[in-house]
């Protein structure tokens, strides 16, 4: 049975989505459990796959029994093996953690919500596991469509923000599709590794160059790299909290994975990193993203919006690290995909917990939260320290690799941007600590007397806290085991020729 793991990862959640939708009409409480079982199987299979990869290096699965250039094949290697496990774990933990707030926010829409949730996971995991360039587009659209719908059900201006996301997302995905079309014209194939074997003969053709530029533009829009980030802050701010703690960790990070996959496995480093000038200009683009993202984050007055801008800066870390085009930089980028996904999950889960108890997430509402919700805020501290980059949390180690890469490449602008962004993050998060720890709960001047009850302990329910604690512990564990992760997995994910 274990040879079918690549199919199980995707197909079990897909089939579960139909069951969930049907259960939504019959008995709503079942929806959650079906989703949990499906995602657990998916998580288990991706673990199994990673173990197989550690043993055999590459696992290939032929759908319909047709071999690659003619049929669709899944190909799991070190790079996507680890990303798969992380995405599956995030999807599962978030599902458990948000059970209560889904019940609160989507009373009558639980069935469709969980169906969309599971379909989103299907799409995202499919993007990671597939070895076919066109299949990736279809899965990308599944993940995007469900994402639009989940975001559209949020508060305030969610529908408008989601519609803008539809426009940007569709342009991005269409550009990707067009780029694949150019590659198809040049090579006649759609399988990533088949394309890679044909491309070296036609590297000088400008069709390939155009395919490269168009694909990359599409992916940059999809991953919200500055200046194509405009859809992200609104969409993430207004979206419902159980959905955003799924979408925020996965969408942009998976798109960075796709960029790495396309550039390393399809175009191969000898084409992608051919010209130093191009590499450097992409790093400078990332530097701008980091700096602008950090500065914009400083000017925000609510938690989720601030975190969205922090994420835009983080995208800059990964893109910049990758385009440093050396071993340390790419290791840092891949490591940061994993770490950033975990960190984002942690802080957005906390934001969800806060919104579960407090009416809004603007900074005024955070006053006195350390007394009211000590456990959630404890996890927030861990997540924040990780984003800042304090050892032994995982954020420190990926940043370390990125900085080492920057120094090795002689790109001191990138190093400076990383340090600047860390400083800004210190300011950002310590401001929140200060508000949460020192300022009393509620506004003294308006309410007159402080309500005794509101001061007391009122953390989120246990069902939401336990997964959050696991995530927070995971951040530290990821940090401690970074070395194992790099030597056992990530260093094999980077192809030979890169020093």
């Amino acid at each position: 049975m274990s040879q079918h793991f690549p199919a199980f990862i995707i197909v079990i959640p897909l089939i579960a989505a139909f069951f969930i939708f049907t259960a939504g009409w019959l008995k709503r409480t079942y929806c959650f459990y079906i989703a949990a079982v499906a995602l657990a199987i998916s998580l288990f299979s991706s673990f199994g796959l990673l173990l197989q990869v550690l043993q055999n290096k590459v696992v290939v699965y032929h759908f319909g029994g047709w071999s690659p250039p003619w049929g669709i094949a899944y190909r799991v290697d070190y790079l996507n093996g680890i990303v798969l496990v992380v995405s599956a774990a995030i999807a599962f933990l978030n599902l458990i953690a948000t059970k209560k707030s889904v019940e609160k926010e989507f009373i009558e829409r639980v069935g469709p919500f969980y169906a969309l949730y599971v379909l989103f996971v299907t799409g995202t995991m499919g993007i990671v596991v597939t070895g076919d360039a066109f299949n990736l587009y279809v899965l990308l659209e599944i993940a995007s469509l469900t994402g639009y719908a989940l975001i559209g059900m949020g508060t305030e201006h969610a529908a408008l923000a989601s519609l803008n996301y539809v426009f940007m997302g569709t342009i991005g995905a269409s550009f990707y599709l067009l780029g694949i079309g150019y590659l198809y014209i040049a090579t006649g194939s759609l399988n990533m590794f088949d394309i890679a074997s044909i491309l070296p003969n036609i590297f000088q053709s400008n069709v390939v160059l155009f395919a490269f530029v168009i694909c990359l533009t599409g992916l940059f829009i999809k991953m919200a790299l500055f200046p194509m980030h405009t859809w992200l802050p609104n969409a993430y701010t207004y979206s419902p909290s159980p959905a955003i703690s799924l979408i925020a960790p996965l969408t942009t990070k998976v798109m960075v994975y796709v960029m790495i996959r396309i550039l390393l496995s399809v175009f191969t480093p000898s084409f992608s990193f051919k010209s130093m000038a191009v590499n450097t200009s992409f790093v400078w683009l990332a530097v701008i993203a980091i700096v602008v993202g950090s500065i914009l984050a400083l000017s925000q007055q609510s938690l989720k919006r601030m975190l969205s801008y922090v994420m835009i800066a983080e995208i800059g870390y990964m893109v910049g690290g990758f385009w440093l085009a050396n071993r340390a930089g790419i290791t840092g980028a891949i490591l940061h995909i994993i770490n950033d996904a975990a960190m984002t999950l942690c802080v957005f889960l906390v934001a969800g917990n806060i919104l579960y108890r407090v009416p809004g997430d603007s900074f005024d509402n955070l006053k006195g939260l350390f007394r009211k919700m000590p456990f959630s805020m404890g996890a927030f501290v861990v997540g924040a320290l990780s984003i800042i980059g304090v050892p032994p949390t995982c954020g420190f180690f990926s940043k370390w690799y990125l900085i080492t890469g920057g120094i090795a490449a002689g790109h001191y602008g990138f190093v400076a941007a990383l340090l600047f962004s860390s400083l800004v993050n210190v300011v950002l998060f310590f401001r929140i600590f200060e508000i949460g720890y020192f300022e009393p709960f509620g506004d003294l001047h308006i309410s007159g007397s402080m309500d005794e009850e509101e001061k007391t302990f009122d953390d989120a329910p246990l069902g939401m806290l336990v997964p959050l604690m696991i995530v927070a512990a995971g951040l530290i564990a990821l940090g401690i085991y970074t070395d194992t992760l790099v030597t056992k997995v990530i260093q094999f994910a980077i192809p030979g020729g890169i020093s």
Binding site: Y148, A149, G152, L163, V166, T170, I171, G181
Partner: protein
């Protein structure tokens, strides 16, 4: 001059898709009405579908359905006689994707209209600013 003419003759089909795509992109950038933007998005996606379909074309070839009969028996099939089926298959998928995107976009537009009573971006922006 002759070179340019051959280029035009052998590539004009691709230029058609580019013009369409740019019309869609222009609508999405410039128009302020959300439904017009959605229409632009649809044109944009359709242009890419045309692009793929025109890749599939092959001179002096027919549609990819092999002629067969109960009594005619099998005869050898040559790839040059039939156009490339793969882009058509891919575009069936892309058409469905674009229909699905259109459906979700329209649903969101209806939600926006219910909330702001308008589909003009300017009016919506002024409403947001007032609040």
């Amino acid at each position: 001059m002759v070179d340019l003419l051959t280029i035009i003759i052998s590539k004009y089909n691709y230029w058609g898709y580019i013009v369409l795509m740019m019309i869609g992109l222009y609508a999405m950038i410039v128009k302020k009405n959300l439904v017009k933007k959605i229409i632009g998005m649809s044109i944009f996606q359709t242009a890419i579908i045309f692009f793929y379909v025109s890749i599939g074309m092959k001179k002096n070839a027919t549609i990819p359905i092999i002629s067969h009969g109960h009594d005619g028996g099998e005869h050898a099939v040559h790839a040059v006689d039939f156009i490339n089926p793969l882009p058509h298959v891919l575009m069936l998928t892309a058409i469905v994707v674009s229909v699905a995107t259109l459906g979700v976009a329209l649903a969101l537009a209806i939600k926006v209209y219910q909330q702001y009573n308008s589909l003009e971006e300017d009016e919506i922006d002024s409403q947001i600013k007032v609040k």
